[in-house]
Symmetry: C2
Subunit: 396 residues, 2 copies
C-alpha cells in the first residue's frame, strides 16, 4: 500500500546510523558526534530575548511569506552581501529544507531532472524523491579536491528533461569554496541551456584563509533564473529554529512558491520573532564563531592527514571535511567503530559519504566529518578514527 | 519555466482576497475577519512558560519524529480520547499541514487518486497538486446539511487509482459532526476497497449540543489502514506554533513518513517545548473555550438565518458555518463587500466556498464563516453581511 516515492526516498545517511550510536551509549561509551552539522556554539541570546519581547496573547498565523519585519531585516542582510533583494523577493521557510522543496516544486514536474554536483547534501535526494524529481549527478573526486566539474562534464548530462542545477557553496559535504571562475561555469551553463540555478548558500559566512563565498547573484545575466536557498541554522547555531529563506527576483517563481507556502499557512510565528533577534546579533558574534571554526578546521585537517593513505585536501569553507579513508566500506567501518571500538570509553561517529552520491557505488571509502566540537574534543575524536582505521584493517 | 504543478496549485481561497481587505483598511474601514480560522482566544500561558523552562544554550535539531517527551504527552492525550497509540506511533509535524502532506506522500504516487468529501478544507487541493495527486470529490449540499454521502456515492467514484479517502471530522468548512453510522460508511468503504483513511481530526474537541466527534480509530478493523492527522493550532489557539501530528499504527506508513521527516530534519525545537506546555493546560481552559464557541455558534447561526432565502443548517462542531446566500457568485459578493460596502466604517470578510469544492462551478453561492470573534463583534459582522446582501442584489 506504500507509494513508490515512499520506497525510493533514502533514509538519511546522517541519521540512519543513530541506533548504533545509541547502543554504544547504552554500553556506557561516550560518542563524539561528528556525523551531523549540529554546532555546539551558543545561539545568540537575542533569540530568546526577541521571543519574550514579541510575545503575543494569541500565538497566531503570520503571513505565509513570513513576517514583514523579518523579511525587511533579511533584505538588509542580503544587501550587505551585495545581494540586492527586496522584502517581497524573500520568503521565510521552515528551514533551508523547505526552501529547497519549494524551489524543486516550482521548477520541476515528476520525471524532470536536476543536475547536482556529487557528493552533495544528502537530503537533496530525499526532497527530490518526495517530489518525483530525478537528480542527475556530475561527479567530483577526493583526489581532485572535489573541485567544480568542467563545462564539458555538465554538458554530458544535460537532457531535454533537465530543469535546474542544484548545489551548495561553500559545499556541504566537502567544504570546498568555489572560485569565481568555477561559479562562472555554472552560470554560463545555466544560461546556455536555460536552466534554473538553485543556489544553496547557507554556509556563506563560513570561509577561511581569505577565501570568499561568492553568491550566484554576482552573475547579473542569470538573476532571473536564480533561486537562492538560505538558512539561519548554521550561521547563528540555531538549527532548531527552523528558519530559512527562499530568495528570488523572478516574480513567477515567487508567486508559485507563495501558493505552496499558503497551503501550509506559515512558518512558526514564535521562532520568526526569534530569528528577528538573531539578525540583530552583532558582527562580533560571527567573527568569533568563524575564528573558532578556523581553529577546528586546522585541527581536523591536521589530525585526519596523519592517517596513512588518507586522501584529503584542506577545505576552505562550511564546517565539513570530506576524506577518503583506507577502508573498503566506510559505512561498515563506522558501524564497527560504534559497535567494537573505543579508547578510554570513547568512540566517534561520522557520516558515510556514499549517501551523498547519486551514482551507486561511489564514495564508499569516503566519510564526512562535521567539525562541530571544540579543538580538544575534535583532536581526541579524530585520533580515535585514526586508531580505529588501523585496528579495523588488522581485523579484516 | 514554471512547472505544471506550480500552475495547478490553487491560490488559497481563504487568503487570496486579502488584498481587498488590505485596501479597505487603507481607506480606514475596519474589517471583521471571519474568513480564516484564526481564533482570538488567548493561548494558554504554559506555551511561553515551557519555552522559558526548556531554554537551551544551543537551539538544536530534535529527533525528526519530535521530542520524545512531547510524543509521550501526546500518547497520554490520545489515550484519554480512546485512541490507543504509543509515542513511536506519533510523529510531530509542522502543523497538521505537514502531516497531511506526509500522508499523501506515503500513500500516493503521481496520478493516484484520493477521494474527498466536498466541500473540504481548501488546502487539501494545494497539497495534492504539489504532490501530483488527484482529488476526486463526492459532493454534499447545503440543502441536505452537508451530511455524509452514501456508500453508493463513494462507490461511484472509486477507480483502480484510488488510494485513500481524506476528510475532516468535525468538518472544516461545514461544521458537520458525523454520526457513528455515517463514519461507518467510510470505514466499510475503505475496508472493501483496501483504501487508506486519512482522518483529519483537528477539531475533535469542538462539538456542541451533546454531539461527540468519534475518531476513525473507533473502527478496529481499519486501524492498520488509518492515518490520523492532528494539530494543536485550534485546540489551544496556537496556530503560530505550527505543531501537528501524524498518527498511525501502521509501521510501514510510519517508517516511510519518518524518511520524509528526516530529510526536513525536525519541527521547530522551541515550539515543541511550547507544545509540551500546551498539553499541560488544564481541562478548565478547554471547557471555557468550547462554551465560548457554543455562544458564538448560536449567535452566528441566529444572525445568518435572518437573511432571506439563505440555506443554512445549525452546525454541530468545529468553529465554521457554511451557508448558501442568495447571490450568484459569493466571491464577487465578498470583493464587493470589501470594496463598496460599510456600516459605520465597518465591513466583513468571509471565505467564498467555491475554493472548497473540486468540482468546477459548485459552491458558487456559498460562503464559510469562521466564528472566531466574540458574540458582539460576530453579531455586528454578520448583520453587515445581511445588509450587504440586500444592497448587493439591489445594485445588480
Amino acid at each position: 500500500m506504500l507509494s513508490k516515492r515512499a520506497n525510493i526516498v533514502p533514509a538519511s545517511p546522517i541519521r540512519r546510523l543513530v541506533p548504533y550510536a545509541d547502543d554504544a551509549k547504552k554500553r556506557g561509551i561516550h560518542v563524539y558526534h561528528l556525523n551531523i552539522g549540529q554546532p555546539d556554539i551558543e545561539t545568540p541570546k537575542q533569540f530568546y530575548e526577541y521571543i519574550e519581547k514579541y510575545k503575543n496573547e494569541v500565538v497566531a498565523y503570520t503571513h505565509s511569506q513570513g513576517i514583514l519585519e523579518l523579511r525587511e531585516k533579511f533584505s538588509e542582510y542580503y544587501k550587505s552581501w551585495n545581494i540586492d533583494v527586496q522584502p517581497d523577493e524573500i520568503m521565510v521557510t521552515n528551514g533551508g529544507s523547505e526552501a529547497i522543496m519549494f524551489a524543486l516544486g516550482v521548477i520541476c514536474d515528476p520525471g524532470d531532472e536536476v543536475i547536482v554536483i556529487e557528493p552533495f547534501y544528502a537530503n537533496y535526494a530525499g526532497f527530490a524523491a518526495y517530489l518525483n524529481v530525478k537528480l542527475v549527478p556530475v561527479t567530483t573526486t577526493p583526489e581532485e579536491g572535489y573541485r567544480m566539474p568542467s563545462y564539458g562534464e555538465f554538458k554530458k548530462v544535460v537532457s531535454p528533461k533537465t530543469k535546474a542545477i542544484l548545489f551548495s557553496n561553500p559545499s556541504n559535504p566537502t567544504g570546498v569554496v568555489y572560485t569565481k571562475e568555477e561559479l562562472e561555469v555554472v552560470a554560463k551553463f545555466a544560461k546556455e541551456y536555460n536552466l534554473t540555478i538553485i543556489s544553496d548558500e547557507v554556509y556563506r559566512e563560513f570561509t577561511f584563509d581569505g577565501s570568499k563565498a561568492l553568491s550566484m547573484f554576482e552573475f547579473e545575466d542569470i538573476r532571473n533564473q536564480l533561486i537562492i536557498v538560505d538558512s539561519l541554522s548554521k550561521r547563528y547555531s540555531a538549527c532548531g529554529a527552523r528558519i530559512g529563506t527562499f530568495v528570488t527576483k523572478n516574480k513567477e517563481f515567487y508567486s508559485a512558491a507563495l501558493k505552496f507556502a499558503q497551503a501550509r499557512l506559515c512558518p512558526a510565528e514564535t521562532t520568526q520573532y526569534g530569528a528577528l533577534g538573531l539578525l540583530e546579533a552583532d558582527e562580533e558574534y560571527m567573527k568569533k564563531v568563524i575564528e573558532e571554526y578556523k581553529i577546528r578546521r586546522d585541527v581536523a585537517f591536521e589530525e585526519i592527514s596523519k592517517i596513512q593513505d588518507v586522501v584529503v585536501k584542506k577545505p576552505q569553507g562550511a564546517f565539513y571535511l570530506a576524506a577518503k579513508l583506507p577502508v573498503v566500506d566506510s559505512e561498515e567501518f563506522i558501524k564497527w567503530m560504534l559497535s567494537n571500538f573505543e579508547i578510554n570509553g570513547k568512540t566517534t561517529m561520522v557520516a558515510p559519504l556514499s549517501g551523498f552520491y547519486a551514482t551507486p557505488g561511489l564514495g564508499k571509502s569516503e566519510i564526512r566529518i562535521a567539525y562541530v566540537l571544540n579543538a580538544e574534543k575534535l583532536r581526541d575524536a579524530i585520533l580515535i578514527i585514526a586508531k580505529a582505521v588501523e585496528e579495523y584493517n588488522k581485523s579484516k
